[in-house]
């Protein structure tokens, strides 16, 4: 070191979070004595370093002691690195000359042996001190924020987010995989606990989104690739061929009326009803244009038919239409891709798919929907028999080690809703089989009480089996639900006509690929991970990418809407600022040392490294570099350096961490 740095060391108690295990006083005294040679001129410990008083302490020392470096031993940099960098900035020190080392998450919270934890804290601190010596003053990189936003998923969460941003006057691309936006909510009949009609509250929002001048609606489309970084993403979107020219189509409906080919509708009607080969998902679909399902269309299979084309008054049918690939530039992205319903077939003892009158929750939603296959009549598979006894099974596929350990959050309320609808429409007797009744939410508990008063039966127990094997005359022709009533400890056999399985929510089957495509990660059970479970539920670790609705975890409509709005608000704030500051962590190739060996050329997945044939040297494009440092580690000539994580910084940190391992005589040398 040519000139000796003046380093200030600050050890945080974090109340008792750290001080309860680590002897913070001993650590700061040790640092003051043993790290003198590294340039430590002052070492303090303080109750809460992140408090304004703590920060002022640092700023005061910078001014009075002329500190050139600051090391704070406190919590994880992921929590407070920015806090202390700003504190240094306030004190007139370049924020990047501050190092925050974690003696909480990585020490006091995970260890019980106080002596060992204190020794470890010393090591971690001395690592930070050795490292900070080699920090360089840096300036954050400022990149402009493109005002447009990409919203992936046209369910209620995505629609809400899109509308919030669009209404604020900024462009939005709303991408939906299905032919229409609306998502699961469009399939429901009533919504709990108020029982107002789902379509009635959703449709206006869908229409708004469809007509909004700031919203480009891309249905029947999927995002295939995302490049770039916060402020400047480029999304590659495949707009699948509808075989219908949107410009000419009026949505009159003649085509699907005339279409001779009936197809079981497994998506919207959950297999309960039929659609044509040319179809709109449902009457209120947005956009109104139909699509031709090429897998089932007779023309595409046999090469003849073209009924739709013949009858279309505006010649909008276009069999030759091809997929379009669009590249859209956006500044931020919201993922609201929702959930898949748990496949009840997996619980074979419940007989779904084998026993005709076992229904899934989504099937029941369609059945109870006036616009649905049965016109709202609740009947058995035969389409006419009205059930006299109905059993509703809660927690299907949820809270179960064999399937999903988590609670799907909506099943209790959904089951109560079903029970109410059954009684209201059929007067049938209803049995709810539950593990616990969970009704956290405005008006939810009240709804539960209403059901109790309506005389619905509640049996606390997990249904073991559903079968049609009758043992008693009374069971003939019925479905028998085998269950232990855990309140009375009685084994029950309950004969019913109809069973509704209140299936849980699962991450989309392709959630992992989607996460990878957008550079974020999934939790063990497959839901996308938010930046902080409490304080930052809609952001992700990747700048500029947000999540909303069930893609983040099971939740009901109000929460999904809230998250959509929240994500939008976060993004609007960013757009307003017009630019975003990025960590100045970048790789640089030093031309005079580069031998042009091209080892690094296959190291960069962001194509930030280019090779100049003329000069026979490689170069890093800082705009594309993401700062991972892989090329820095790969360069055999040592010709690549990485700011923020330089070899000097890391190697010195290793020295510092191992200081205590060095024989005493050397420590004071």
């Amino acid at each position: 070191m040519d000139k000796k740095e003046k380093i200030g060391v600050y050890v945080c108690h974090c109340g008792t979070n750290i001080a309860g295990v680590v002897n913070v006083g001993e650590v700061s005294t040790w640092a003051a004595e043993n790290l003198k040679n590294d340039g430590v001129v002052i070492a303090r410990d303080y109750k809460f370093m992140c408090s304004s008083l703590g920060q002022e302490l640092i700023q005061k020392d910078i001014k009075e002691q002329g500190l050139t470096r600051v090391v704070v031993a406190a919590c994880s940099p992921h929590l407070h690195e920015a806090t202390f960098r700003n504190a240094c900035k306030g004190g007139g020190l370049n924020p990047y000359l501050c190092e925050l080392v974690s003696i909480r998450e990585q020490d006091s919270w995970v260890h019980t042996d106080k002596i060992a934890a204190t020794e470890k804290a010393k090591a971690i601190l001395s690592g930070g001190v050795s490292r900070v010596i080699h920090h360089e003053p840096l300036e954050p990189l400022h990149v402009p924020i493109h005002p447009a936003t990409l919203v992936v998923g046209g369910g209620i969460a995505g629609i809400q987010a899109a509308l919030e941003i669009a209404n604020a006057g900024f462009p939005v691309y709303l991408v939906e995989r299905e032919p229409s936006i609306g998502g699961h909510m469009a399939q429901f009949d009533k919504t709990f606990p108020t029982l107002d009609c789902s379509a009635c509250i959703l449709t206006p929002k869908m229409v708004d989104a469809g007509n909004h001048p700031n919203i480009t609606l891309l249905t029947y489309s999927e995002v295939e690739k995302v490049d770039g970084y916060v402020g400047n993403f480029v999304a590659t979107i495949r707009k699948r061929a509808r075989s219908v020219n949107e410009a000419d189509c009026t949505g009159c409906g003649i085509c699907w009326e005339k279409c001779p080919k009936k197809v079981v509708d497994n998506v919207f009607e959950a297999g309960m009803g039929y659609r044509k080969a040319v179809y709109v998902s449902f009457p209120q679909a947005v956009p109104k244009y139909p699509v031709i399902d090429r897998e089932n269309c007779t023309y595409y299979i046999k090469g003849t038919c073209k009924a739709c084309e013949k009858f279309c008054p505006t010649n909008a049918i276009n069999f030759a239409q091809e997929d379009e690939i669009l590249n859209v530039q956006v500044g931020n992205i919201i993922l609201a891709t929702g959930y898949d319903l748990f496949d009840s077939r997996r619980i074979t003892q419940y007989g779904y798919g084998r026993l005709a009158n076992v229904f899934t929750s989504l099937e029941f939603e369609r059945m109870s929907n006036a616009a649905g296959p049965t016109g709202g009549n609740i009947v058995l598979r035969d389409g006419k028999t009205v059930p006299k006894v109905v059993g509703i099974v809660h927690c299907v596929g949820s809270r179960d080690k064999n399937y999903n350990e988590y609670c799907s959050a909506i099943c209790c309320m959904q089951s109560l809703k079903f029970a109410h609808l059954v009684e209201e429409r059929t007067g049938a007797e209803v049995y709810n089989f539950y593990i616990d009744i969970r009704t956290p939410g405005k008006g939810y508990e009240e709804f539960y009480h209403r059901l109790l008063e309506e005389g619905t039966h509640f049996i606390r127990g997990k249904v073991a089996e559903i079968s049609d094997a009758a043992r008693l005359p009374a069971e003939e022709g019925k479905l028998i639900m085998q269950v232990e009533d855990t309140l009375t400890a009685n084994q029950l056999r309950v004969p019913v006509d109809m069973v509704i399985l209140s299936a849980g929510l699962e991450p989309r089957h392709d959630a992992k690929e989607v996460a990878n495509r957008f550079g974020i990660s999934c939790s063990a059970d497959g839901w996308l991970i938010e930046r902080h479970p409490k304080l930052d539920p809609v952001a992700t670790v990747t700048e500029g990418i947000y999540i909303a609705g069930c893609v983040q975890g099971p939740k009901d409509i109000p929460n999904s809407v809230a998250q959509g709005a929240a994500a939008a608000a976060r993004i609007l704030g960013k757009i307003q600022q017009k630019e975003v500051a990025l960590e100045p962590i970048r790789a640089t190739i030093h031309e005079e040392q580069c031998s042009g060996c091209r080892i690094c050329n296959n190291m960069c997945p962001f194509n930030a490294i280019l090779f100049h044939e003329d000069k026979m040297v490689s170069e890093v494009n800082p705009a594309l570099c993401q700062g991972c440092g892989t090329c820095v580690a790969a360069c055999p000539a040592g010709a690549i350096s990485g700011t923020g994580f330089s070899n000097e910084q890391i190697l010195s940190q290793i020295n510092g961490l191992l200081l205590l391992n060095i024989p005493k005589k050397e420590v004071v040398a």
Partner: protein, 326 residues
């Protein structure tokens, strides 16, 4: 005024450095003209007495080649350090241990045992050399071998490093010119600790072979490879160390179809030469599957030997565990 004094000494080296200096041919006369050669055992009868009698720092320039294999090497290194103003670690042995440093893979005892039990050795009593042995006429002694071979700067303070096994004569000539110019105040000497007589980049910088993005499914061996004379050897699977080896030799070996074996050591600022090769060779492996990667790595029959061929004694680890116990 008397001429500046010049010394050249060989410790644990092969003598190739001396030959390389003789190979500056006519320039040797410039050295003779510019310096008073006070100590150069290979070329002249030395005046050790005078060296001992000299003032500290009286020798202006000392080119010291050879590693520290025994206590005698260290003794002279320390003496010459005291007597010399500019101490140059000259050649791979002094800089980083060179091939003799490969001895640091094994305990010194094992080295001695092997030498005295080869098939042609007639040694029924299994004798080993003794550092002090009393003959009827009196005790006679030989130096004690160091358990690990050391580099010059692991024993004394070094001003400049001149790498190469041996250093290229044109580089030696250039350095001689520089020093002479500097003595006449016509040039600046580089900062202490600098590497002189070599480039800052790696051998590829001077190699004329064509190169592409490197992705390798199999490493080869030179005797089995009919190498394309135009194309980068490493791309053809031949374990060439040129990617990590300091430039300055004009890529001699690759230019005649032989892989670079690394005699010029690490490039400027590199902490551990072998680590650079580990990173470099790992980077060209064209697979993400651990099993396949291991299969590809089997093609490198002696990775540590290859990556630390000249550099083991000067590396971060310096020697294998067994050598340390030795």
């Amino acid at each position: 005024m008397s001429k500046p004094k010049f010394a050249m000494y060989w410790a644990a080296s092969c003598g190739g450095c001396e030959i390389a200096v003789l190979n500056i041919h006519e320039k040797i006369l410039d050295v003779d003209a510019a310096f008073e050669v006070v100590f150069w055992p290979v070329a002249m009868d030395a005046k050790y007495k005078d060296v001992e009698a000299m003032q500290d720092g009286e020798i202006t320039l000392c080119l010291f080649n050879g590693g520290m294999r025994n206590d005698e090497n260290e003794h002279i290194a320390k003496l010459l350090r005291r007597k010399s103003k500019i101490m140059v670690a000259f050649g791979s042995c002094a800089c980083e241990g060179c091939i003799p440093g490969l001895a640091n893979f094994r305990p010194i005892k094992e080295l001695v045992d092997t030498a005295f039990s080869t098939i042609s050795t007639d040694n029924p009593e299994n004798i080993r050399p003794q550092t002090s042995y009393s003959m009827p006429e009196g005790a006679i002694t030989i130096p004690t071998l160091n358990p690990m071979l050391k580099t010059l700067d692991q024993v004394v303070d070094v001003d400049y490093y001149m790498p190469g096994c041996p250093p290229e004569s044109h580089q030696i000539a250039a350095v001689v010119d520089l020093v002479i110019a500097a003595l006449n105040g016509k040039a600046e000497l580089p900062p202490k600790g600098a590497t002189i007589g070599a480039g800052n980049s790696t051998v590829c910088d001077e190699c004329q072979r064509k190169r592409n993005v490197k992705l390798i499914k199999e490493f080869g061996r030179i005797q089995f490879t009919e190498a394309d004379p135009e194309l980068c050897l490493l791309e053809q699977g031949i374990p060439c160390n040129g990617i990590a080896t300091r430039s300055g030799c004009n890529a001699r070996c690759p230019s005649v179809g032989a892989q670079c074996i690394g005699c010029y050591g690490p490039a400027e600022g590199v902490v551990d030469y072998g680590a650079r090769l580990i990173a470099g060779f790992a980077s060209v492996i064209d697979s993400d599957d651990p099993v396949e990667i291991d299969k590809i790595l089997d093609g490198l029959v002696d990775p540590a030997g290859q990556f630390y061929r000249f550099n083991l004694a000067g590396s971060l680890l310096r020697a294998s565990k067994s050598a340390q116990k030795g």
